[in-house]
């Protein structure tokens, strides 16, 4: 059974002044994303993918329109409440991995658990388990700069899922990886999606990566120009 997880209603984002017609990064986008989807925003550079993901993740606020997660309208939340929501329900994966350089892989994964009121032992257990799930038990105490790009992105995936979010947002997660590693990473994301039912929304401009998605939303010039589901 599928339920709506995410809903965008007439969402627009303008980075410039309101009357500056040219600076609409997202224009009047409406869409719904259900639980357990594995959805890709596809589009060329500058088309508005990152902006869409930021709006969905509550990292940025729309100029107009509504973003609803699990029935909650994000625009009604204070920035503190948005942070709470991200911490509890969302995970983030970035193109540049964004691991904290001075922490080991395992410590990076522990970070999202810090403010959840868990005991030290449980934090260790859950993050170790997450590192095992992404296949990094052997290098979990290494620093990011001692790891390959693929390993770093696996750490980032473990960090994004360790607190069992309902939505993981990944902005071009494979853009900094070679073809083979990119395929592995997207494969791993898909496995996690199947196993735990966590919804993935990611962006990419790589046709090969799009292949893995169950739904592809084509973004162009800040608008969704096509919506293809493939099961």
């Amino acid at each position: 059974m599928t339920t709506t997880l995410l809903e965008l209603q007439n969402v627009s984002k303008n980075y410039g002044t309101a009357d500056d017609v040219g600076s609409w990064a997202v224009r009047d986008v409406s869409l719904t994303i259900s639980n357990k989807e594995f959805t890709a925003f596809a589009g060329s550079s500058g088309s508005g993918k990152t902006t869409l993901l930021n709006l969905i993740g509550g990292l940025d606020r729309p100029t107009s329109g509504h973003v609803k997660l699990d029935g909650t309208s994000l625009e009604e939340l204070s920035s503190r409440k948005l942070a709470d929501l991200r911490r509890q329900k969302m995970g983030f994966i970035f193109q540049t991995f964004n691991l904290l350089p001075v922490l080991s892989g395992l410590e990076n994964v522990e970070y999202p658990l810090l403010r959840m009121g868990l005991g030290a032992k449980e934090i260790k257990e859950r993050s170790t388990e997450a590192m095992a799930r992404v296949g990094l038990t052997a290098v979990m105490n290494s620093r990011p700069n001692q790891m390959s790009g693929g390993q770093r992105q696996r750490v980032a995936i473990a960090r994004a899922m360790v607190h069992k979010p309902s939505l993981i947002l990944a902005d071009e997660p494979t853009a900094n990886l070679d073809k083979k590693t990119a395929a592995d990473i997207i494969g791993l994301m898909k496995e996690l999606n199947r196993e735990s039912g966590v919804t993935f929304v990611f962006s990419t401009h790589d046709p090969m990566i799009m292949e893995a998605a169950t739904r592809v939303l084509q973004v162009s010039d800040g608008q969704i120009i096509s919506d293809q589901k493939r099961i």
Binding site: N54, L59, F92
Partner: protein, 403 residues
């Protein structure tokens, strides 16, 4: 715990920046410790000289003495038979010595001139330490009766040297005139020109002979410890039977010394304030750089659900670690510097004293605490503003920066 680890390791990310910050902080820490230590040494040196040569820690005398009785009233400041009281004072455990003095004014006559002077008759057998604090530029201390030591400024006026003889003329207590020939044994400096330009020390017995009396006008009490004054005074008051006598701590008798202390305290305050301002400026400069280089990290942490205040806390903890590091290094560095500098014994001309004071530092726990407080304060003040600015940058903007 992880936050502390993160903060601690972040501290070492920029080695040169850390070294620069530590250099400044440890430098300021040491400067404060050294300056305060030296200030303390100067004050203690002057204080010791005042206590040993002029007042003792506590003085007992009649009101007329404390108020500088006019010449025709000197009889009214005289104390009869202080022996009893002195014996009782010596019984007090805090008291080191108790001794009497007789002060008077007279004329010093040499072959070609006659100059008024202040005479202090004291007991050289009891006030043994006193003479160590008279720095003799000529001659030496005296043991015999009928000998005097003359303040350097006064000696210059009189054109006398050790070995000369002078005649002292003074009214006796009952109105007659007395004269005595005295041998100049030495010329001294206390560093305080008010004494050095006016004063002659002589044995108490000779002073009493000149005034034709067996009375005294001042009882000095030297304590074993400088700090005891406040609690000893009530005990002393209980021992006293003569209601005309008053007890005063020496600090009540020398208002100039209070000004000396105020002067040095104000100077220290100004120097500390300047150091604080310099530290705040330079540390905030590097903190600013650090925070804007770490915008990517800030954006990432915000995306993971950190509040703005969590980011501020992280940077504040880093500052506190920097402070701890600075103090941990600062303590031994400042201590070693104080030892080394003190060992050179460099004489320095200081205000309020004509004698050079060696550049030495009194070790002072308070100076270390104050230096630590100033270091911490400056670091925290210096990081609050950049940390706030950094945490207020929008998540999206922050995330666009490289991590």
């Amino acid at each position: 715990m992880l936050t502390f680890r993160l903060a601690f390791r972040n501290l070492f990310r920029h080695k040169t920046r850390l070294v620069l910050n530590l250099f400044l902080l440890v430098g300021a820490f040491s400067a404060i410790v050294l300056f305060k230590g030296f200030k303390q040494y100067v004050i203690e040196t002057m204080q010791t000289s005042k206590i040993e040569t002029q007042y003792g820690h506590i003085d007992i005398a009649k009101k007329k003495f404390f108020n500088n009785a006019a010449v025709d009233q000197v009889i009214e400041k005289m104390v009869d038979d202080p022996k009893d009281l002195i014996d009782k004072l010596k019984q007090l455990p805090e008291v080191n010595i108790a001794s009497s003095r007789l002060n008077f004014y007279g004329l010093v006559n040499t072959e070609d001139q006659s100059i008024p002077a202040r005479f202090v008759g004291f007991d050289p057998q009891v006030e043994v330490n006193m003479q160590k604090h008279l720095y003799f530029s000529d001659g030496a201390t005296f043991q015999d009766s009928k000998t005097i030591v003359v303040g350097a400024g006064l000696a210059k006026l009189l054109k006398v040297k050790a070995g000369n003889d002078v005649t002292v003329v003074s009214p006796t207590l009952d109105g007659g005139i007395n004269a005595m020939d005295l041998h100049v044994q030495g010329v001294f400096n206390t560093g305080f020109t008010d004494i050095d330009n006016t004063t002659i020390f002589l044995p108490l017995v000779d002073a009493q002979k000149i005034l034709d009396t067996d009375r005294v006008d001042q009882i000095l009490i030297h304590l074993k410890q400088n700090e005891d004054s406040a609690e000893v005074i009530p005990k002393i008051e209980k021992l006293m039977t003569n209601p005309e006598l008053e007890v005063k701590p020496w600090t009540d008798l020398d208002l100039m010394f209070l000004q000396v202390q105020n002067f040095y305290n104000f100077q220290t305050f100004v120097i500390e304030f300047i150091l604080l301002a310099l530290l705040v400026l330079s540390v905030s400069n590097t903190t600013n750089m650090t925070i804007f280089e770490r915008l990517g990290e800030i954006g990432t942490l915000r995306a993971l659900g950190d509040y703005e205040t969590d980011i501020q806390k992280l940077f504040l903890i880093e500052s506190v670690f920097l402070g701890i590091l600075a103090v941990v290094i600062g303590i031994p560095v400042a201590y070693a510097l104080a030892q080394i500098i003190s060992s050179f014994n460099i004489p320095l001309a200081m205000p309020f004293t004509s004698l050079p004071i060696p550049l030495k530092m009194t070790p002072l726990l308070g100076a270390y605490i104050e230096a630590a407080v100033i270091c911490f304060l400056s670091i925290v003040v210096a990081s609050i503003w950049p940390a706030r600015k950094g945490s207020h940058v929008s998540v999206v903007t922050a995330l666009r920066a490289k991590i």
